[in-house]
Every structure is written in structure tokens, then in C-alpha cells.
Amino acid sequence: MKQHYDIVVVGAGPAGSTAARFAANLGASVALLERDREIGVPVRCAEGVSDSELRKYVDIDPRWIAATITNFGFFSPSGKMVQLLSQANGYILHRRLFDHSLAEIASEQGAEVFTKAYVYNLKRTDNKTTVYLKYIGREREIEADIVIAADGIESRIARFAGIKTKLAMKDIEQCAQMMLANIDVNPNRGDFYLSHNWAPGGYVWVFPKGNNIANVGLGINGKYAGERSPLEYLESFVSEKFPTATRLTTIAGGVPVTTHLSELVTDGLMVVGDAARQVNPLTGGGISSAMAAGKKAGLVAADAIKKGDTSVKQLKRYQTEWNKTIGKDYKRFHRIKAWTLTLTDDDYEEIADALQGLSPDEVTLTKIFMAAVKNKPSLIVDVMKVFTGL
């Protein structure tokens, strides 16, 4: 570990590793710091990602793919299934292997990768940032021109730099997940269960991982927090649907479901991924948007280094580009998300009834949403824009 790097990236998830890779590729000296002993562990993720999004940022390695998803099942509260064919293939990843590879790719581009490197403070003076860290239990200081904060939902690093990162309760999905073995699931179908009884303000997912293994998890909206923990909800679901399953892992965590931070940059600092709340607020999916943000941030950071200007004015290009692209889409998703929180179990039942009798290739996400919004004309425009890509 050197005394100085052009760019220090904090957090080696998909956002951080992608930022490190693109910055290093343009010639910046980059350190990528991971708090945990191993990159990619613990896996706090349902591990789903779409093929078309993922291949924008990386050549897909078949070793990462646990299962290929070609269709989805949506289950109403009473158990009626609406099946739809996926417009593009999806994957359930082995996130541990995937995250390892993204860090390796960053390293191949010249980034130096460190684990057990825990950052506990930052200090900005004279256009440089001192990064205070513990590296394998020993205190160190390194100097950086730019820090990229990719430290996940807690978003402490941005907070050290004065950016407000606090989330409202309703802007979090509290999640719990078990990886279950010895269960009978469709190997190419991702299932979603919608019901206030199973997961208020969220949904249950069953994502197959091959070999009769699946990620079974749920998110409940933070506005329902405090009564029963998501683990208790998950116990109820698993003991009813998969009573004989072997529980390989039990994890819990949170997903931000809001619009991104109003400030993604400040002098010498950029925020990416969950730390920046760059998650699809409708689905909770964040892998590909983390990589999109990481790419933009890494490129802008390296360019700022070349120009010798790491001020907020220079770094703001990343925020402007984000706002114009995915940021804009996610604002729309966020409005739809707010409306889904008003749906009752009766509404879900009605939507399922309206779509019964259609074959999977006749059901599209647009049809599902149109059935759902027929009593909410004001949202039809938002829904249309989402599904026509306008």
C-alpha cells in the first residue's frame, strides 16, 4: 500500500470495483479498499440481474451464472399465478464469484486491491483527502486526490464528507433471505409473491440457483418496521412453502428504495451504488445500476485527475450524466413504487383475476401494470413511459 493514490475507492462491490477499473484504465493510480476479509462476502443480495444490462459493462463469465431466468411467476395473495415470459434473459448470479471477478478486472487495469481495509475517517485539506484506515488491524493514513464512496447502504464515507445520506423509514426495504437446498423449484422461473401477509410493502422472491437450491427472501417496507422483523416474516413463509428445506445461509440487510442522493459529488468525493441510493426503487435491483454509476464515476474521476482539478465543479459531470440517464428512469419508478405501496391484497387479487386465462406469452409487464392502474389514470402515463422507454 502506497502513501498516495490519485483515487481511493472505498468498498469493493460492483459499484466500487467498476469505478476502480475504469479509472485505472485511464491511467489513474487507484487503491480499492474492502472492509471485509473477503470481497463478495457476506452476500447480501437476491443475486438477480438482466443479461442485457450486465453485458453493457462486462463480458459475462459462465462461472458467475447459477441459473438463467426465462420467465417469471407472480403469485396473488390467494395463490393464483400469473406467468410471464421474460423479454430478455435474466441471471441469478453467484455474487461471491462475480464480485471476485470484478475486483480482478479492476486489478488487471492497474488498481491495487486490499481487503480488511476499513476506513474510519476522511479529512480534506488543500485539495487532498487524508483517508484514515485500519489495514489488517493496523492504523494507516493514505492521501488521495479523489475518494469514491462505494460503501453500501450505511454510506458513512459520504457522510464524513458532509453529504446528507440519511434515509427515511419508508425509503428502505428491510430484507431477509435464506439460501435453501433440497427444494422443488422451477429452474428457470423467478417467482414473486405479493401479499401483505407475506411481505407488507414489498414482496417475497424465490430465485432458483440450480441443483434444487434457491434464494428465498423478502423485503418489507420500512413504514411497517418494528412489529415483526423480516426474519420472522421469512420464517412464516419458509415454514409454510418449504418446510423440509435445508437452510444453507441466513442473511438480513436493507435496500434503499428512494431516488438517488441529491448530492452525488462534493469537492474530491463521489458517491456510487447503494451508498448513493442508486437502486431501482421498484424492484430493489441494484447490480447493473451500481456498475453504470461506477463506470461514469471512474471515468469522470480519472479525467479530473488528468486535468488537475478535483473540485465539485469538475466532478459534477458524473451527477449530470446520471440525472440524464438512469436517474431519470428511477424517478419515474419511484413514483410507481409510491403507488404500489397503496395497493391492497384485494387489488392484487383483482389484477391476477384480470390476467387469468392468458397464456404466458400473452402476458407482458405492461399488461400487468395496465390492469393495475386502470383505476389510477394519472399513473398510466408514467407506466407507459417506463415500458416504452420514453
Binding site: 480488511k116 485500519k134 453500501g152 428502505i172 420500512g222 418496521a225
Partner: protein, 59 residues
Amino acid sequence: MIRIDKNRCDLCGVCISVCPVDCIEMTETELSIDEIVCIDCDACVKICPFAALSTVGKE
């Protein structure tokens, strides 16, 4: 005050994201709360997905 069940805490960081006064600190091995700064709003207690946090002295 807030009691942390350190056997349950998985260091997922969600509590930190809801704290209105930034009184929760997380090292690589443990969570701690600065009780002088804490305003006992219970946001962290409610949001913890592992139910590792609880309020004591407020019944």
C-alpha cells in the same frame, strides 16, 4: 438507551442509514452507539432486520 445484541448484529449498516443524529458507528467487527448524542428516536431499533437492537429503560 439502546441495547445492542452483539451476537445478533450482522453489521449490515441499515441502522446507520436511518439515524437522524449520526450517533451510530460501525467498525469492521462491531457496532456502537454514542448515547450522549442519541435522541432515543428508536428508528434503528425498528429498522434492524435482525432485531438486534432494543430499547431499555423506556417502558
